[in-house]
């Protein structure tokens, strides 16, 4: 099937007759199926590291519809490492205040009060097409700098044939079919992943019997830039919950929870959608419908994200409910986790089994996300009478008593998981802060005119604070860069609070994905070498 199945917001990689047609199959180190946020981020990361990567997408750009709209701090930090974070922040809407209503009454409001000393806010609202466009623009820049990245639009993967030392990929194009050979394939082809089906792999989990209507409306109303969420909304036919949230370009996301037994076609008629939106906004507000959709969702994941030479990332590997914005955000973390590992394996600097840790670590992340998103869903759509009774009791109490407010759950903020106790972790030999323990993603901190994460640019880094680094420049061909700081480098004290706590000095070994591989009060070159071997899959 090489015809377009959805309209495009932006044409980014128009179809060109492929040189591979009628030629003997060419071998590619890495072939990525799918040019969504996850495929693009992985391609950009690999290409910037010099590993050749071919991306095949079944369309010529990014589909219309805002879809994912909340991009979390960690996603922006990863995008910034890849070069696209600044453009996202400039375009995105930053918000801090949320209000929760139950019926007509405001139950409470919260302010995210983001911690100071980070380049990026807790998250931004940005339509997914812009997010993808910024990544493609950065890929174009990387290509101009010589990064070996190729994207082929309207090249549809029709067959996957895994062999011992490669995968044969059959590709259909408007001008015919060709075969490509890949050392590794990354399937970033979405929740309905054709690649998963081609390999006959299961995708099990829990289905939620509910339908959500999205209406993105364009209006210049002066609603504040806040997240408003209603349980049992007071406006007509709004369903069991409703959401109003601002996006860039005067677009507002409106969400109605409609229940299970609905007539989908009927609910999607413009008049019916407008009746709901009118009831919510009040009749006198002018707006256009920008994009509408009805979605249902499931929480599920593959048993393992690695199947030989085929790796699954993003929605193809795990699917969550939208509450808490854990879909695209966790997918970009998959990309962040996989790219450096695959790069080292392709370059022969790390053993193939390093890729097993991708599955191990990201399953850990996916399970945390599924747990959080399932809990939010159970609060939003109580599954039994007693569950509804307790939910409503929490909402009633939250209006009067502070203790009940943390129980109100309309989605928990997506934050990166800490890879506690997993295989690539080296020692944690520092009585330092909990948040920077081994396995955690490095929190940002101000540093001179910039930020700490600006200095962690995609390789292994040995960060020394108030001490010297041991003399070690590489381990088995993998470079280790050194970053030596003192308490005085950050007069705000954030660096000290986040990385030292009450200890006078520290040494951190930081992975290319900015997760902490090991930390010490004091370490020798041998200690660092051992931790490097563990972090690159060469441990005992």
């Amino acid at each position: 099937m090489v015809g377009a199945t959805y309209p495009l917001a932006f044409t980014l990689y128009p179809y060109r007759t492929c040189v591979a047609l009628g030629a003997p199959p060419v071998r590619h180190p890495v072939l990525i199926i799918g040019g969504g946020p996850v495929g693009l981020a992985t391609a950009l990361d690999l290409g910037r590291k010099g590993t050749p990567v071919l991306v095949l997408d079944d369309h010529e750009g990014v589909g219309i519809g805002s879809r994912a709209i909340c991009f979390a701090k960690r996603t922006l930090e990863i995008s910034h490492r890849l070069g696209a974070g600044r453009a996202m922040l400039e375009k995105g809407v930053v918000w801090n205040v949320g209000k929760v209503f139950h019926g007509p009454d405001k139950v409470f409001e919260f302010n995210l009060l983001p911690e100071d000393g980070h380049r990026f806010p807790a998250f931004i609202n940005l339509q997914q097409p812009h997010f993808e466009r910024f990544l493609v623009e950065e890929i174009e820049k990387a290509r101009a700098d010589g990064a070996p990245i190729e994207i082929r639009g309207r090249n549809v993967v029709a067959g996957l044939d895994p062999q011992d030392d490669h995968v044969r990929v059959t590709v259909e194009t408007p001008d015919g079919q060709y075969d490509a050979l890949a050392d590794y394939v990354i399937a970033c082809d979405g929740a309905r992943s054709p690649a998963r089906d081609m390999l006959g792999l299961s995708f099990d989990g829990r289905v939620f019997e509910d339908n959500f209507l999205i209406a993105d409306v364009r209006m210049t109303a002066d609603f504040p830039t806040e997240r408003w969420f209603w349980f049992e909304p007071p406006f007509k036919n709004a369903g069991a919950s409703a959401l109003l949230h601002k996006q860039p370009d005067d677009i507002w996301r409106i969400d109605f929870q409609l229940g299970w037994d609905i007539d989908r076609d009927e609910e999607l008629k413009e008049d019916n959608i407008r009746a709901r939106v009118d009831a919510m906004l009040g009749g006198d507000v002018d707006y256009e419908l920008d994009w509408t959709s009805i979605y249902t969702f499931q929480c599920r994941r593959m048993k393992t994200f690695r199947h030989g030479r085929v790796l699954f990332a993003g929605d193809s590997a795990h699917q969550v409910s939208p509450f808490g914005a854990r879909g695209a955000n966790s997918g970009v973390q998959d990309a962040d986790n996989l790219a450096w590992k695959l790069d080292l394996v392709v370059k022969g600097q790390a053993p193939d089994r390093l890729l097993d840790s991708y599955s191990e670590e990201r399953i850990y992340g996916a399970d945390e996300n599924i747990l959080n998103s399932t809990r939010a869903t159970d609060f939003l759509t109580p599954k039994s009478d007693i569950s509804k009774i307790f939910r409503d009791a929490v909402l009633q109490l939250a209006g009067k008593h502070a203790f009940a407010r943390p129980m109100v759950n309309s989605g928990r903020l997506s934050v990166p998981c800490v890879y506690d106790g997993l295989s690539l972790n080296g020692p944690d030999s520092l009585a330092g802060p909990e948040r920077t323990r081994t396995g955690a993603a490095c929190p940002d901190a101000p540093l001179g005119d910039g930020y700490l994460l600006d200095r962690l640019t995609g390789g292994f880094t040995l960060l020394a604070i108030n001490t010297a680094t041991p003399d070690i420049a590489q381990v088995g061909g993998i470079a280790v860069s050194h970053l030596t700081l003192t308490t005085g480098d950050d007069p705000t004290g954030a660096l000290t609070a986040r990385y030292l706590g009450d200890t006078p000095a520290a040494l951190y070994l930081i992975r290319p994905d900015q997760h902490i591989a090991a930390r010490w009060a004091k370490a020798t070159a041998t200690d660092v070498e051992t931790a490097m071997r563990i972090a690159t899959g060469q441990g005992a």
């Binding site: 009791a393 109490l397 203790f403």
Partner: protein, 61 residues
């Protein structure tokens, strides 16, 4: 600390009276809602997750 399962309320008859009186005149739905609020208020007062887990178990047995 463990969950207290020996008698711990002074004047148990008086408390029982008060509990029922609080529900007096309420419909079944209103009573269910009141009980749910009461459980949440008491659970927050206890706070300790281990004790709450013991209590959930004791109630289920």
């Amino acid at each position: 600390m463990a969950l207290t399962l020996s008698s711990n309320i002074q004047d148990p008859d008086g408390f029982y009276d008060e509990l029922l009186a609080t529900h007096e005149g309420l419909s079944k739905d209103e009573s269910d809602a009141l009980n749910a609020r009461l459980i949440l208020i008491l659970a927050n007062h206890v706070g300790d997750r281990a004790i709450l887990r013991e209590a959930l178990q004791a109630a289920k047995e």
